[in-house]
Symmetry: C2
């Protein structure tokens, strides 16, 4: 049973201001919810149409109907369960290893895909500018496919953060050095820019190493790569020289 | 002015069966429409709220209102113009060079992104299984950002095509050989599989070279990469050893 108040609270969590207010976010579907349950994230409450979470404390689980799930879900096709979790505290970002920084990424699918890429490539910290889409946006949570539990995402004044770091700062630009022939270090910050405008001039001034992904073919008409595919190629290049497991 | 009949025909083109029937598809927004106008695609008719296509024959252009554009558009926020183009004939796929083959790619955004990647990496031919999403689906057309004009996309019985080719056939699998240490040729077919199920068993049997993108980090919990990011990394690896322009 879901009360009117609960419906209002949960659908409200689709908006950032209510996630901030309640310090809660939600995830949907057995796979993503199970990944969050198996992590350090703190469960607030779980709503499910199937009694498949018997290991959880009974007072945290509500068995509901499909119709009730539809009322609280953000998905076109709700999928068995919706769980509320406590928004965790941001962890401190160390001054070593590879760190990805995002300058004004607006699309939830792109942020989710980049978190999944960070997880794949063993990158534990993602630093976002304040105007990036919120990581606890339901579309981002779903797109991470559980990777959200293994990547620390922090929001900060990006130019301030980059101005203060002692790490080399990499960014992809059309006129950068060929990423395939550059020696790429084990420690550094990799900046990815906005979907339409790329890296902002303010951040560009702070980039110490401009790199480029070369284009191939005779036509050379492609204007740009999608930010998630550019991130995939860049992270792969940074990792390929080090031992894979 | 857009007639009721035109509205019916154009919105019908959101469905594959009507695109087949009329041999037409549509594109929206100045950037994508301009790229199609500058290509070999044949314009059927253009609807625009701004008189910015003065180089076009007058009998092919209709100046319409924002309200009319909204009635024919497939976008949440229509963008200045919508143009109908003739679906071109598929070109023959040669038996040399790099060719990408898609086994049951269902998501329009993924197909669009992969076409954009092919364009970037100078891959001119993309072979799709019959059950892939249609390349003239409006969401695919928009996601290609114009790259659709530079990549020949054909639909065929994929196992039949792969069974008959003399080219080596590459596919990514968890138990494949490390893509970073394999010698990758200039000629070959690269198969990418379905979003949820990967490459089908039937096609897997025809893959001559199983490759893998290594995972990094200590946790090793990430199940898979999104197909578009996996394609990005794979195409980058195939191209990186050859001279970039």
């Amino acid at each position: 049973m879901v009360s009117k108040n609960q419906i209002k609270t949960i659908t409200g969590l689709q908006q950032k201001k209510y996630r901030k207010l309640h310090k809660l976010f939600f995830a949907e579907g057995i796979k993503v919810v199970q990944e969050l349950l198996n992590s350090n994230f703190e469960l607030h409450r779980l709503f499910t149409t199937q009694d498949i979470f018997s290991e959880l404390p009974k007072d945290k689980v509500d068995i509901i109907t499909e119709a009730e799930l539809k009322k609280i879900s953000a998905l076109a096709t709700p999928n068995a369960c919706l769980a509320l979790f406590v928004v965790p505290d941001e962890k401190q970002v160390p001054e070593n290893g590879l760190i990805v920084a995002l300058d004004d990424i607006r699309d939830p699918g792109n942020l989710g895909t980049i978190i999944r890429l960070c997880d794949w490539f063993g990158i534990e910290h993602l630093v976002c500018s304040e105007n990036c889409v919120d990581v606890y946006n339901p579309k981002v949570v779903q797109a991470t496919m559980g990777s959200i539990t293994r990547v620390n995402v922090v929001y900060t004044d990006l130019s301030d953060y980059i101005a203060k770091t002692s790490l080399p700062v990499f960014g992809t630009f059309m006129d950068g050095k060929n990423i395939y022939s550059e020696a790429l270090p084990k420690d550094g910050i990799i900046v990815m820019g906005n979907e339409a405008n790329g890296i902002s001039p303010e951040i560009e001034n702070l980039v110490t190493n401009k790199i480029a992904i070369p284009r191939f073919g005779s036509l050379q008409m492609t204007e740009s790569l999608n930010v998630a595919t550019a991130a995939a190629i860049t992270l792969s290049e940074f990792r390929r020289n080090f031992e894979s497991i």
